[in-house]
Every structure is written in structure tokens, then in C-alpha cells.
Symmetry: C2
Subunit: 200 residues, 2 copies
DNA sequence: TTGCTAAACGGAACGACGTTCCGTATAGTC
DNA sequence: GACTATACGGAACGTCGTTCCGTTTAGCAA
């Protein structure tokens, strides 16, 4: 639950370089495994992917739920930072929005697993949920507004509504082989474009 | 998935008496354990409560999900049959309704666990859900109508709406120690009574 | 560079779980 | 009472999350 991001503040022990590195590797590996195999993936699989022993995972994240929470926060942060970056790197805000939503969809896999992992901690879950909403809605709003300003989409939807819609499309994804949430989301984003631009 | 309730129909093998008896004992024990310890209760605990070995459970119910499904169907049936019986045994339909809702609340524990147990079988879950609605809504409607006819409650609510409300009150119950769904349900039922009767 | 030590590491080991297996007991039949 | 298909009990198996501990190494001082 520490919000301190490892700064060398006085009094806090300086962490070893390999420890810091492994923590990042673990977060990335866990995120990848969660997307590939779902949040029920065994800890050993994550350890293997990261190239570390299971003991290392448990020193960084005392319990499985802690790991999922950490991945969740990490993903929220990565998603939030990716928004402005995507906007800066492309000439088309609508395209940036599409790429950002892709990241968001990947992130939702972790988010949906969170509820199951935090069965006994509704307060903790709610806190993470509001953190997620507060952090990401403004980012999405910026992307939307940029696309509107560029004349690529109509201002017919709020950031919150779009994110809710995408979230709902992704609910239960991965369980039914006949359901491809990712594709539906792509269609939704394409549908946002103004008619004159709606191609491919 | 057999709908055949063990009748000695031609071609079907006659089951041994102890087998039939154990199946009933197991359904009752599992239902009790699910209510007491949640649907995540270990199979061994159910076997112990029923006084049988785990092997016996697995001969009757090949997998854990099968057991939960069987308990679910059994509870739906018991709940459905209890409605008319309660109505016949009491002079106050409103009281009968209250007792019936108590059974329904116990049943919901199993129902909520069902979704988790059937993660990979959305169709199966939906089928069971419609079975549940079709079977129980009419029973609840009869109880409601009897209470209305007796002048004990106002006809201000439909059976479906009442059951949905109770179901929603019970969602997430047992996770937060500060939340007692059973008590809220009791208040709801009491609130159904016409003002002149609303005591204790 | 070398030596020291606290910190971090890897993976075997543990206990609990769902599930399977098989030797034993028994209900049903003659 | 004897025979046999059926059902039973519970030990055993493989997998999981988690713990433990002997080994390795990063960071630092000489």
C-alpha cells in the first residue's frame, strides 16, 4: 500500500539494484501472463516467465492478491502515462485513442481478476476502483477532446461512458470461445469516427 | 444433466438403496455446508458432514461443479415445493411468505457460488438461471397473491421484483462482516405488510 | 582489487486442495 | 447361505499457494 515510489528519501533503506530490477521484471511478466493465461495463472508460471524463483515473487509481493494489486496499479499508471505519449507521437488523435483503448482492454483482464482476488476485501477493491477511475477518465477525456478538436470524431460521448462501454464489452471475455471482446471494441472505436473518415 | 428422477423405468438400471440414500444425504450435507462455510468449502468437509468418504461424493457427482449444480437444482425444487406447504400450514400468508423468503435466502448462497463454479460454461449457467426463474417466480407469486387476498399486504410489488430485490440484497453477503443481508431482507418483508398490521 | 556482510536469490519442502484409484464391504438375488 | 454386481472408504496423486533456508551477490570500505 506504499505510495512511495522508491525515492531515496532519508530514513528509508536504499534498495539493491537487482531487487528494483526484479520487481519491474516481475510486474511486466505477471501482466503478460495474466493477459495470456488469465489471472488464475499459477505463480510458478509467472516466476518462469520472469526468470526468477518463486521465493523472489513472495519477497516482493507477500501474497498472490498483493501481486495482482501491484500489477493493477502498475497498469493504471502505464495506461495513464501512455495517453499523452500516444497523442504526441501521432498526427491522428483518433488513432491514438484506438491504441490507447487497446492498452486499456489488456488492462481490464487484470481488473476483472481483481474482484475474485479481493473477495474478502471489498473496501480495498472499492479504493482501487476509484483510484482507477480518477486516474484514467481524465486521460481518456483528453484523447477524446483532441480527436474532437481535430474534427475526427463527434463530441457525442463522455470519457466515462466510453470506458464503461468498453469495460462492459470485455466482461466475461476469454470464457466463451465464440466471443471476441477485442474485435467489438475495435468496431466501437471505429464507429466513433465522423462519417467522412470512416474507413478500415 | 439427467432429468429422470430415479424412477424404475425400463432399461434404466435399478439403483441400490444405499446409493439413493447417500445421494440425498450428500445433497443435504452439501447444502448445509455451503450455507455455513460458503461454496468454497472443501469437498472433505462435505464428506465428513455427510458421514461418507470422498470417493462416494465423486461417484455421485463427477466434479465439484456437478455437486454445486445438483445442490442448486435440489434447492430450487425444495424451495418450490415449500411454498404451497407453508401456505397450507399457516393462517397468515404474510408469515408464510416470510418463511419462504428465508429459504430463498439460504438458497441464494448456493446460487451465488454457482457463477464462480461455472466460469467456463456460461450457457449452462444461463440454462439453470432460467430454470430457476421459471420454477420459483410462480411460487412466490402465489404466496404474494394469498397475502394480498388475506388483506395482509398491498399488491404493490410483483413476485419477480421482490425476488430480484432480495437477490440483490444478498449479493456479496458474507464477505463484509458489517453487512447482514438476512436482516435487511426481514425488514423488507416486514415493510410489505399493510400499516395496520405492521408490528414486530 | 579484495574482503566483508546485509540483502536478495532460487527452488525444495510443506500443507491443503480437487480428483483418482483400488481393495473392501454390502445390497440384491437365487 | 452363497454369489456377484454395485457402491463404499480413504490412501494416494498431482497441483496449487506459501514458507523456509542454504547459497549467491550488490554495495561498500580498506
Amino acid at each position: 500500500m506504499s505510495l512511495d515510489a522508491g525515492g531515496a528519501g532519508q530514513g528509508t533503506q536504499r534498495k539493491r539494484a537487482d531487487s528494483v530490477r526484479n520487481e519491474q521484471v516481475l510486474l511486466a511478466a505477471a501482466a503478460a501472463v495474466f493477459v495470456a493465461s488469465g489471472v488464475d495463472a499459477p505463480v510458478r508460471e509467472i516466476a518462469g516467465k520472469a526468470g526468477v524463483g518463486v521465493g523472489t515473487i513472495y519477497r516482493h509481493f507477500p501474497t498472490r492478491a498483493d501481486l495482482i494489486i501491484a500489477v493493477y496499479r502498475h497498469q493504471v499508471e502505464a495506461c495513464a502515462e501512455a495517453g499523452p505519449a500516444l497523442l504526441a507521437d501521432t498526427k491522428s488523435p483518433h488513432s491514438a485513442l484506438g491504441q490507447w483503448i487497446d492498452l486499456f482492454v489488456e488492462f481490464l483482464v487484470t481488473k476483472h481478476g481483481l474482484a475474485a482476488a479481493l473477495q474478502n476485501d471489498r473496501d480495498g477493491f472499492d479504493a482501487l476502483h476509484t483510484y482507477f477511475v480518477d486516474r484514467l477518465v481524465p486521460v481518456c477525456a483528453d484523447l477524446l477532446q483532441a480527436a474532437v478538436a481535430a474534427g475526427e470524431i463527434d463530441p457525442s460521448i463522455s470519457a466515462y461512458q466510453l470506458m464503461r462501454g468498453v469495460g462492459n464489452l470485455c466482461a466475461g471475455d476469454g470464457k466463451d470461445p465464440g466471443y471476441d471482446a477485442g474485435h467489438l471494441v475495435k468496431l466501437l472505436i471505429r464507429g466513433l469516427a465522423r462519417p467522412a473518415l470512416r474507413r478500415g
